[in-house]
């Protein structure tokens, strides 16, 4: 059988993304399953401020202390939304944690050694936080039915696989088994989208190699780096090293790359579909692009 060379190249990059993301998706699913079963979620959720701004700031700020990347955050937030987490808080955490988590900020500091690492870390963290809070507040103005997927809004069926054809848990099973069952539902569901997103990202990397970046001085240098962040779908803990290789590009353009990638890339666009309606994802994407473009202009005098 004759296999076109591009298909093996796509398989190569796809497997890299799969191998890299799978353990973190599994970790996120296990956390979501066990937290959903054991944690006193109702009591925890009742302590979240009713004011959407305070709720978003509190949840976004959690990103600083909880070391979770986007692959872990998605299944966890999916489960929290099912338990009634307010939109503003959940979205703020979902969008803030990939940028604000300590691993991502540390890798940014390491990558920019010799080139104002603290300034880069501070600007990246501040911009990521502002982006997450404003995007969360925007979407939380809509009704949950317009933002979240229908299945998220259904009452939770603890420990039962979501589909009637799926395997089941025997009545009277211990709680840990219910938690495991829940985790496996989430893992399988998110994996379906993660595989699709990784395949799309791999196909773009191979079929449309980002070979011809514009001159660093051109007006579209920043949009080009933002587009590259979307197409490459690189993990937020690695993207700073990539950003340093954009020689000659302004720090503002590099920051635009660093703000965009962790919250908007090909793989995430598909993975978000396990939580959000497509229209909400479209609105979120447009908002992220506009806010990042604006922020990169605002930081120009600082860089």
């Amino acid at each position: 059988m004759l296999i076109p060379p591009w298909s093996t190249d796509i398989a190569f990059v796809f497997l890299g993304l799969f191998v890299q993301g799978m353990p973190f998706l599994l970790l996120g699913a296990l956390i979501s399953g066990f937290v959903g079963t054991y944690a006193p979620l109702r009591s925890l959720l009742s302590r979240i401020p009713k004011n959407p701004l305070f709720a978003a700031v509190l949840a976004g700020g959690l990103g600083f202390v909880v070391p979770s990347c986007e692959c872990v955050a998605v299944p966890v937030m999916r489960r929290f939304f099912q338990h009634g987490l307010p939109l503003s808080a959940g979205l703020a955490y979902l969008l803030a944690s990939p940028v604000l988590n300590p691993i991502c900020l540390f890798s940014t500091w390491v990558a920019y050694q010799g080139f104002h690492p603290w300034k880069m870390v501070a600007l990246r963290a501040a911009g990521g936080f502002i982006l997450a809070i404003t995007a969360a507040l925007l979407l939380s103005r809509l009704s949950p039915g317009k933002v979240l997927k229908g299945e998220i809004l259904l009452p939770t069926q603890r420990g039962v696989f979501s589909d009637p054809l799926d395997p089941m848990i025997s009545p009277g099973s211990p709680r840990w088994l219910q938690a495991l069952g829940t985790a496996l539902i989430d893992f399988r569901q998110v994996s379906l989208y993660y595989i699709a997103g990784s395949l799309a990202a791999a196909a773009f990397q191979i079929l449309f190699p980002p070979q011809y970046l514009p001159s660093p001085d051109s007006w579209w240098a920043t949009p080009a780096l933002m587009s590259l962040a979307v197409l490459l779908s690189v993990c937020s803990s690695a993207d700073a090293f990539l950003a340093t290789s954009f020689i000659g590009f302004s720090t503002a353009s590099q920051l635009a790359f660093l703000w965009t990638g962790p919250v908007l890339d090909l793989k995430l666009l598909l993975v978000y579909q396990t939580i959000l309606q497509r229209r909400a994802i479209l609105l979120l994407s447009i908002f992220i692009i506009l806010v990042v473009a604006l922020m990169s202009q605002l930081v120009l005098p600082l860089t």
């Binding site: 298909s7 093996t8 190249d9 398989a11 190569f12 990059v13 497997l15 890299g16 993304l17 799969f18 191998v19 890299q20 799978m22 353990p23 599994l26 296990l30 390491v110 990558a111 920019y112 050694q113 010799g114 080139f115 696989f161 009637p164 054809l165 799926d166 395997p167 089941m168 848990i169 025997s170 088994l177 495991l180 069952g181 496996l184 399988r188 994996s191 379906l192 595989i195 699709a196 395949l199 990202a201 791999a202 990397q205 191979i206 190699p209 980002p210 070979q211 011809y212 490459l232 779908s233 690189v234 803990s237 690695a238 993207d239 090293f241 990539l242 340093t244 290789s245 954009f246 020689i247």
Partner: protein, 259 residues
């Protein structure tokens, strides 16, 4: 029909175990064949192998922990088909592995990421993993001054930021191993020797190269060469150029990437 329904029900019941088991076996196979390093940086292997062990455990225990669905397949044939397709989709990683060439040929698209193909202009220091400036510095300072010094293009990104290292390396013979990439606008005896640098996985790989002057006939993009010569630090076009008096084609190294 009854037999078909029973078989389908059994298949659906065991499908999650099949999927998770296939992923675990894929990761263990990649690790055992030492192919995981071509897809992922070694510093993440522990996470992947832990994930594989957990998935393997779940897939083995699955038939003991859960029970088959009691839903009647005949009343939900469309759901069954949808489920069947989703299971095939989840088996895609195993299918992708079967597509890979046995020698793990690096996709040309990764080498052609031209944003940094002449990385001797790079200003960044790569401090991650083995590409540690302190390690590179000690390696150069403690090396035998009379023997050719083996360096990588990534080492040179560290050298260019340190005047002391530049001084040590002036007039020293160095050898650099890398993949050959043509430079269309340069004279025919100039090319780039590139190594691919990986931080997390193969998706973030970026080429790091050094402009090299030397004779290579019939070289193709991606061929492996070892160039031996001296480094020039004051060329107006690039910060560092390797002026090679000896360039030979060599076998690819065991580890294609630098981490």
């Amino acid at each position: 029909m009854k037999t078909f329904a029973r078989l389908s029900q059994t298949f659906l019941f065991l499908a999650p175990a099949l999927v998770f088991g296939s992923w675990a076996c894929l990761l263990l196979r990649l690790n055992q064949a030492q192919e995981l390093t071509n897809l992922q940086s070694p510093r993440f292997h522990l996470y992947s192998l832990t994930g594989a062990a957990v998935l393997l455990g779940i897939s083995v225990l699955f038939p003991l922990l859960f029970i088959p669905s009691t839903s009647d397949l005949r009343t939900s044939l469309s759901q069954f088909l949808k489920k069947f397709l989703s299971i095939l989709w989840l088996l895609l990683p195993a299918g992708a592995y079967l597509l890979l060439p046995p020698d793990f040929t690096v996709p040309a698209a990764l080498l052609d990421r031209a944003w940094s193909s002449a990385m001797s202009r790079s200003q960044g220091a790569f401090s991650a993993g083995r590409v540690d400036p302190a390690v590179v510095r000690n390696f150069i300072l403690q090396s035998d001054p009379h023997a050719p010094l083996s360096l990588s293009p990534v080492d040179l990104t560290i050298v260019q930021a340190e005047p002391e290292l530049k001084e040590v390396l002036t007039k020293r013979r160095v050898e650099i191993l890398g993949q050959w990439l043509p430079l269309e606008k340069n004279p025919p005896d100039e090319f780039t020797l590139v190594r691919l640098l990986m931080t997390c996985c193969v998706a973030d790989v970026r080429p790091v190269g050094v402009l090299t002057q030397g004779k290579t006939e019939g070289a193709q993009s991606g061929d492996w060469f070892k160039a031996t010569g001296t480094l020039i630090f004051d060329d107006p076009r690039q910060n560092i150029i390797l002026k090679a008096d000896q360039v030979e084609e060599v076998e690819p190294p065991e580890e294609i990437f630098l981490y």
